[in-house]
Symmetry: C2
Subunit: 528 residues, 2 copies
């Protein structure tokens, strides 16, 4: 494993401070030396990305697709070593990481298909009307073009699917933008392995070398330099509210502002409607205990808030939930910092704000470090409304049950909610119709509405929306999961009366690529 920084798809010679990866379950150092990047590494990476952009942006779509597929192939080729390393670095179980590996290569291939098909550029053509009165109409043709080098911050909780070759990198490369990745300090080795795979893919498919760089750091200085660098054109981040806001503030202070796409977490409220609770109390309790504790609760879509109306059925729900949580075994969290923070916040919320502890996991693995204890607490709707602190995310296997006296108090509690990635309704088919005004309000607070499911598990597909109103993300108009994630890195360019031969193929007469285009206000994929 080569832990040197990668600049323009090549390992750098100059290396400063050595960094070591740690197994959070044991606290022991893992093999491999990694090297803190410097300000000049940042500059070299972005300079080479900018030069590569001039060739890469207009590259034939089949070549770009081949590159993305080659990255998927090379990552799949590493196989077991990658999954084992990711597990050792993150404390996540092997099975979960095998699934995540499939999702990662699947995402790359999804974007390869999107690019190869080609219609995503939204080609729009309004042909000239030279005889129009009082003025002739020019020929205008527009399509999306990439914006330039993208800085991707690896996320701790998806060491494969939202890291070096994760959804952000895949969508940025698909759009035609070079990528500079800041490796997450929680999985240096996993990052290095995937970085090596991308280098191979660059070589095999003859890409301009500057399309990929990978830098290491154990603090904030390299991330700061990357966001401040004048050649950076966009930034992606998945992590905490504090981390996201720090990057957004840095970007706003730049001479030339750039978009930051920060996914900053969410408490993903779940509303249990009365009839559903009445009929399915036990089943719902089991379903939600599993969703709350999945992956030690370290998902942006973890259900951190449940809202229900008091009833005998709710008491039954609570008793089953309490039991399952009580007997749920502890699990290793991603890092010591995350484990400490979870322990601190989940304890504080009980002691400081006087909410009732419903149940906490009693099964702790004392042989391993950084163990999370699953926990559910309860508060009245009234107290919830009056304490905005209770709406803050506690990252880990924690959930707060808000108990309302009736549906109108429950509805009042939902007005206190901030923007969310997801909101879930658990409802019987017939009762949903009775809450149209509640649904109408909830849709303005979220990016995804779920019926009778759990928010964990984010399907990677064209229709997915993973991004919601602030503070869930800072820009709810975009998604970081699914094929629409590509639209974060492009802008439209219109050509007016342009030379027919010099137009990009996407906009040429006769539609040589056979893509869907809007021609004179009509959507068509007709071609000659």
């Amino acid at each position: 494993m080569n832990g040197k920084n990668i600049v323009a798809s090549a390992y750098t010679a100059a290396n400063e401070k050595k960094l070591k990866a740690v197994n959070p379950a044991t606290g022991l150092q893992l093999d491999g030396d990694f090297f803190k990047a410097s300000k000049s590494t940042v500059h070299d990476a972005l300079t080479s990305a900018t030069i590569a952009f001039q060739n890469y942006k207009g590259l034939n779509k089949a070549l770009k697709a081949a590159f993305l597929n080659a990255i998927a192939d090379e990552i799949a080729n590493i196989g077991e070593e990658l999954v084992n390393r990711a597990s050792a670095e993150s404390g996540l179980p092997l099975g979960r990481l095998q699934g995540e590996l499939g999702r990662t290569t699947g995402q790359l291939r999804l974007f390869a298909n999107l690019v190869a098909e080609g219609s995503w550029v939204g080609a729009t053509i309004d042909m000239a009307l030279p005889e129009r009165q009082p003025l002739p109409k020019p020929d205008i043709r527009r399509m999306l073009i990439p914006i330039g080098p993208v800085v991707v911050f690896g996320a701790s909780n998806f060491p494969l699917a939202f890291s070096v070759a994760g959804g952000d990198t895949a969508s940025a490369l698909a759009s035609g933008c070079p990528v500079v990745v800041k490796a997450h300090p929680a999985h240096y080795g996993t990052s290095a392995l995937v970085g090596g795979a991308i280098i191979k893919a660059v070589e095999k498919t003859g890409m301009p070398k500057g399309v990929f760089s990978l830098l290491y750091d154990d603090g904030y200085s390299i991330g700061t330099c990357l966001v401040q660098h004048p050649l950076t054109k966009a930034v992606t981040f998945t992590g905490s509210f504090r981390g996201g806001m720090a990057l957004i503030n840095l970007a706003q202070q730049r001479e030339q502002p750039i978009p930051v796409f920060a996914e900053m977490g969410s408490i993903n409220p779940v509303v249990f409607l009365p009839q559903a609770m009445e009929n399915q109390a036990e089943e719902l309790a089991k379903k939600y205990a599993a969703s709350i504790t999945l992956g030690a609760g370290q998902f942006c879509t973890n259900p951190g808030l449940m809202l229900a109306v008091q009833s005998p059925a709710l008491e039954k729900f609570k008793s089953v939930l309490k039991e399952v949580i009580f007997t749920f075994p502890s699990a290793t969290m991603l890092t010591e910092g995350i484990a400490n923070n979870y322990s601190k916040l989940s304890t504080e919320v009980i002691h400081k704000y006087g909410i009732a502890l419903l149940s906490a996991s009693s099964v702790k693995n004392y042989e391993l470090l950084n163990q999370s204890q699953a926990m559910v607490a309860q508060v009245s709707a009234n107290d919830f409304i009056n304490n905005p602190k209770l709406s803050e995310e506690i990252f880990g296997p924690y959930s707060l049950l808000v108990v309302a006296k009736n549906m109108s108090e429950l509805e009042a509690a939902t007005t206190a909610l901030e923007g969310q990635l997801t909101i879930t309704l658990m409802a019987e088919k017939d009762e949903l119709k009775d809450y149209q005004s509640l649904l109408n309000k909830l849709m303005d607070k979220t990016g995804r509405l779920i019926l009778n499911g759990v928010p964990t598990g984010v399907e990677v597909c064209a229709a997915m929306q993973h991004g919601g109103p602030f503070p869930a993300t800072n820009d709810s108009r975009f998604t970081s999961v699914g094929s629409a994630a590509i639209y974060r890195f492009v802008r439209p360019l219109a050509y007016q009366d342009w030379d027919r031969e010099l137009l990009p193929d996407e906009l040429k007469d006769g539609n040589p690529l056979g893509i869907f285009r809007t021609v004179n206000q009509k959507l068509t994929n007709e071609h000659e």
Copy 2:
């Protein structure tokens, strides 16, 4: 004419300081009293907009289209009174304003058609695969939904097409967002007339009253309140760099950040390639003299910079340009402030930075006030590169000719350019091919590339892009002209496993609206 503030489609009773409209050509007050809004007017407008949003956002698309068409009808009904008032307030000629009136109603009808057709919401459906291994795939359906109340700042230079019922208002209402307009102080009466037309349209089509409000102010306090108000969800602005940045900074300081769409001007560079200059010197000079002076140069797409290589043909171009500019009559500018600023900056650039005056208009109408004097100046490519001040916009009939020794010096001069709304190439068909690397670089600096035309005249159509890299606009991913302007006010919402009957029509099985949708990755408008 009723000059009271309009809140929720009704004239307000409480009125503070009286404001008067002024004719910039005479300095005389025009008839009509207008009233400065207050902080509480702002709050009332945004509260009623927020309430109206709950009904308006999901309104049947035919009703929304009828509303937009009714606004167009009511504006057309005012007819001559409107054009006369706009001319008296802006100093713009009647002919130009008649054209602008047509553009304004045309824009409203364009958005009515877009909404009535319905495919713009980008409906995307990925159906469930309950048997998928290892996990079943849920049913996910996504479409664009409106974000809430939009604050529109009227622009001075388009008293009809970018003011009370201009492109921003039309696109926001089309998207499903209520609008609160801040009237531009340069045309209170025009604003009041159009505001009255919108009230009638709201009544005729039975819209929720809160969808429209119109507030007056002669300073910055109401604009500031509007941007800071927590219920405001987006802001549109067309004007100066300083004004746009002030609004952007206010928005960034909000607890909940919101998008600002600021079009902040541009110098719209025109590159004359050598062969074109050789063959068409005289024709080009006439064409560009007309574009520079059109509307007293008060267009965001005014060609403020021309770049050419020294040659005998260029000398001919200059001599014709000089003559036309010299004999070009003065014209009334929009406001005293704009006229004073133009006079100050166009004089300063000659005296302070030592650039050569090529020609200035000698025909001044001494009977009228606020007259602009057309002006062209010249600088070497080298001096241009070394003085960033020369790249700043001078709003009015001014253009700077940059003379390079050869094409490589010209190309170097273009690297000094900031982001632009438009870049124009004047070229013979054969020579364009020789400058692919120049074109490749220029495309990253602009939202629209024009061949052998002039940048003035922005066609309102689906393919138009009016928005370029910073500082031309603050967000080059969006356009303020053309039907794509609607995408500024929406965000995606995904429904997961949602009740089939409660889904919006756009996402229902069988495609009852017959719109284009992406179903299981295939674009289709098939319906039952």
